[in-house]
Amino acid sequence: MNTIAHALFANILLLLGAPEMATPTNLVINALAGVAVDLDHIPKLGKAVRTLRFGQSSRTRWHELQGLLASMLISVLATLYSPELGRVILVGAVSHYFLDLATRPTRPLYPLSDATVFLEMAPMSLRGLFAYDTVLTVTMGVIWLWSLNGLGLLQL
């Protein structure tokens, strides 16, 4: 899923599940945690520009279950410093793995196994995927604005 969708979805999970933590600073940290997992795509950026997509081969172990495990442990460690900060990071990180698993082919056990998982809840063709991503991102944008407005963080 695209970077904007990951940031929006991380924020939406925080806004809906823990609105009391939804300060502007926390929302930024949460969004950063939601997109940070994609940093491992950077070395594959050139190929993605040529083929117009990041395939599952561009995902390292940190983008799969091993990464989810590491994210959860880091978040719990962060709660020792600040329970709120840890929770905000955890929500962002988990949201990324959820969205990727729901909408993209992934290799959950990589590098132990190359077995690919695709839950068939999104189209496979490039054109279909573009339309799907656009609709989902715009929908999440609307929910995000609506949630911020509801909490008084944004006046629409």
Partner: protein
């Protein structure tokens, strides 16, 4: 081949196969989409738990677990049971647990993290060693919902939401 399930887990799997395996519509269902639907229901469980709407979270969690059982039954009925199917199951279950744990205590988050490590170990050792966290959570939530505000309720409240 998928990692071998241990005695009780294998017995439960056979029992569900006998109970649900003859349903007439199984051939029409897609096991991966059933897994995906169960994953989406985890979102609702997270939302209800974070609002402490325990009754609603019990109902949706039960539905998610039913879909989790059904996808395996459908896959086996269609002859699609394989190592890939096991990986789908493991991935959906672990991410679902992680999502639900966002509304719960740090203790639960740590148990979920441990379960992910167990899943990786299961693949390497070819033995299916997993803690059924969502099933245990469902049981704990039902008890939490039913028992009055006594010591046991406070204990569950601490373990599930506060620690």
């Amino acid at each position: 081949m998928e990692p071998e399930r241990l005695g009780p887990a294998a017995a439960v799997k056979r029992w569900f196969d006998r109970l649900l395996g003859r349903l007439p519509f199984l051939a029409e269902l897609n096991p991966d989409q059933l897994s995906g639907l169960g994953l989406l229901l985890s979102l609702a469980v997270y939302y209800f738990l974070s609002r402490e709407m325990i009754g609603a979270s019990i109902l949706v969690l039960f539905a998610a677990l039913f879909l989790d059982v059904l996808d395996g039954v459908v896959a086996r009925a269609q002859g699609k049971a394989s190592e890939e199917g096991w990986v789908v199951d493991v991935a959906v279950d672990r991410v679902s647990e992680a999502l639900i744990s966002l509304a719960l205590s740090r203790l639960v988050v740590l148990v979920v993290a441990f379960n992910i490590a167990l899943s990786l170990y299961s693949y390497m050792s070819r033995r299916h060693l997993i803690i059924p966290i969502r099933q245990v959570l469902l049981l704990a939530l039902v008890m939490y919902f039913l028992v009055g505000a006594d010591g046991f309720h406070l204990f569950l409240d601490g373990v599930l939401f506060r620690m």
